[in-house]
Amino acid sequence: MLEIPCPYCGRRAHTEFTYMGDATVSRPADGPEASDRDWYEFVYVRLNPKGPHKELWHHTNGCRVVFEVSRDTATHEITGSAKLSDEGEAAS
């Protein structure tokens, strides 16, 4: 069982959290400036990197905030987390 550092609540067991996907993708604009390809890639295309990665986790059984976790997919090492609204503020 991993421990995830919630930027608001501190270190907690990962069973309190829900994985919400890749933090490196963002939702395209709703208007015509986004292409069908943009939308297809947003919904379906994910890289599968080996090594450092950024993920979104929701503290479901806690503060119910979504935040960003830096995790190494090869070693499972979690190197930090950050609030979405407050870029760069890390917790450990």
Binding site: M1, L2, T18, M20, R27, T60, V66, H76, E77
Partner: protein
Amino acid sequence: MFMKMFMKSGAQSFRNGWGGAIDRGKPLTFIFNGKRYQGYEGDTLASALIANDVHLVGRSFKYHRPRGIMTAGPEEPNALVQVGDGAESEPNIRATELPLRDGLVARSQNCWPTVEYDVGQLTDVLSPLFPAGFYYKTFMWPASMWMTYEHRIRKIAGMGVGPHEPDPDHYDHHYGFCDVLVVGGGPTGLAAALTAGRAGARVVLAEQDRLLGGQLLSEADPGPRRIDGRTVPEWLAATTAELEALEEVRILRRTSAFGYYDQNMVTLCQHEEGRGPGVPRQRLHHLRVGQVILASGAIERPLVFANNDRPGHMLASAARSYVNRFAARPGTRAVLFANNDGAYKAAAEVAAGGLQLAAVIDLREEIAPELAEEMRRWGAQVLPGHAVTDTFGQNRLWGVEARALDGAGGVADGPRHLINCDLLLSSGGWNPTVHLYSHAQGRNRFDESIAAFVPDHCPQAITPAGAVTGAFDLKSCLEQGAEAGAAAAQATGFDAMVEPPRTEADPAPRPLKPVWSVPLPDGSHAKRFVDHQDDVTVNDVKLAQRENFTSVEHLKRYTTLGMGTDQGKTSNVNGLGIMGELLGRTPGEVGTTTFRPPYTPVTMGAIAGREVGAHLAPKRRTPMHAWHEAQGAAFVETGQWYRARYYPKGGEGLTEAARREVRHVREVAGLCDVSTLGKIDIQGTDAAEFLNRVYVNGFAKLPVNKCRYGVMLREDGIVYDDGTTIRLAENHFLMSATTANAARVLQELEFALQVHWPELAVSVSSTTDLWASMSLAGPKSRDVLQALESDIDVSNEAMPFMGHAAGTIAGIPAHIFRISFSGELGFELACEADHGIALWEAVMAAGEPSGLEPYGTEALGILRIEKGHVVIGPEINGTATADDLGFGRMCSTKKPYIGHRLKERSGLTHERRQQLVGLKAVDGSSRIRAGMQLVTNPNQPLPMKMEGYVASGCFSPNLKESVATALLEAGRERMDEELWALSPLHDEAVKVRVVSAHFIDPEGERIRA
């Protein structure tokens, strides 16, 4: 005088009268294979059996050969027993670890009718027919027969029997933290725990045995060894006392650290059986650890030679344990067969325990003269450069044959030494217990000097110390333990002093000689067992090599080497060594298979813990649950919720009750508890804009005090959820989500607000449990409401369909929403959860003159099919689009919303997509089952063309015919077409006609009445 010391105590004729860590004042009676024996407090089942001269304890897995106790620890491959009877019975317990207790009942496994006369033994005689891979090769064809074969094979190759009754015991889970976890309570672990504990670190010391000491428990007592000037038992007692007195040190005995996971989390299973009422049978610890010290020691490796599996073949260190720790003599006349110096000490101490030492057979050409001399003093014939080339005996060993080796990997021509003995001590060196190190993603390397794998490097905070590093002498163990303890304490923030317990250095041993398998003399076809538990022989490994299963992972799976419950603790390295020789590689080049948790078997009970039976999942009950119960309602579980399914009258079953309730709603009025529907409170200046973005239809212009039905898509354009949302105030909405999806919908809303649109000023929160809700439906429902004392006007003018008002009903603050799932004139009443039962009872009382009756979810399900309303699962099935379900025109073209873009993909707008339709049975009565496949012609050749399938079906009590909803290819264009609904599973074919799914009141006159 010497003979006096061997006086019989009870029937324990092989128990010495002195020494050992057993309490002769506490005799214990136990039953093994139906016979009554006596042992002492402090015994294991194995040591008590040995004290009673019982050596035949089981039959081997495949060949059913007689097997005896081979080890004195968790590595035991043979002495697996079934313990206890009935519900508490447990299979595959290692007799070598099981503490003896009064009244213990145990029996051998894998034999029938008895362990002495076992019919399965025929497989040994016929063994040329059963090479490795035999079952795969023989029983796979025809494939359809495998089930039959497997059943028979499993019966012959039994591994004990699991009880069928529910487990009467309970098991606990413990989640903990510590600075330093010391795995192993031998000398290394004790020195480590002492050092870290004295520094003030929070230390957990886990020891699989019930006593601390490890190998020190098997030291001769009295013996010459001194630690800090004390005898070994004195030092152990003092050390244990000091550790127990340290406030931050916790000792877990009978606890196996069986798994090592990411972020230094270690799982341990603590055995507490027999500790009395209220104590769990086992406790599973999840420890999050700052620094782990792996002081797991080493396991002696048996030699592999002809017929090396007869009862009486035992690891040299195990025999020493039985003699020294348990004062039990494992035989009368012993032979040592070894390739290393360490085993000589064991042999000498076994001899000192009262056994004759007949011979010492060493694979090495040269033996240290002082060791040879000591062996001769004990009366042993010393044979360097020799090997055991055969053994004799059936249910017990009675002799061995030794012959000289030719130095070229073969047996020399020369005399055969036939040596009479009933105990054969075997030692091929020691394997460090590196399993947890591997779990922790550590890498091991092959150390030529000890011919075994040792820890090399690991990304996690784990420090191996002592014998696990290949340091087998006591002085090194104590020093390494103290150093590791100090380093771990320092790493977790404590000042520590390195003060290792002092002891004499042992003389440096001469090198061992690795011989992975002893050669057979010409003409011998004797089996040489590598893996005793799984009956894997040297020939099986050779066969695997010939058939090119040379990778260790293939070798393991092809031969089953190391796949038993002992996980190959005594066999893996020997197997790798043999394969290496065949391939011309070192064992280090061959590499090991990956060790995985658990290190020792863990019961399902320990893993489940308290989460069994009623505690498996929380039960959610609505505020009106007690009323439904009092009415004799039958309940149904939907997720964690318990919902009233139907209210039977006078012996009615489900079908009769539900049909009566459905008719009653359509003809009079009914009240249904709908408190389980998810309720999400949405507030903020951007609340309307937010709803506009999550629903396909518009919510910005919804007037206050109005309800609107909304459909929500996933980002990929598929329907996700539906429900009614009420605008309570300009910036305040109450959304209802389906019971099953409520939690996930809230999570999606939060995600969208926090990740996609943080600029929106909206907050969402779940209020499901704050509300009690009930659905009042039927032509007389307005009469019921008007009979209640209330300030809310429910006339059609004041509260039209989709209207809302708040006020008081029967003195209770409440809301009324004019919404309907059943398609009847309907009102949903909602109030605070605590008032729910009062409001429900008030409504029921007011409705009595009108004939109001409760209805359950079964009736609700039929009512909604009659109305053609869709639900999550059958129709909202994770593949249907809004248009498929008939909501195409609801989807706004004036605003974007989640899923708006991808729902336009060609695949989701194709004209031949399956669309929602209704079906009626042409004969009016045949049942149309959910899941039936729709075809145009039931007699077409296979594979048939599937036109669609039935989503939900029921017999409509109001229409008095069989109806269904279905998803049918281009269904909306196929009204009145006749199709066949097939269920090959039930051998049913029903002719159906395609109709609108709105069976009742398609114009909505009732709902707006």
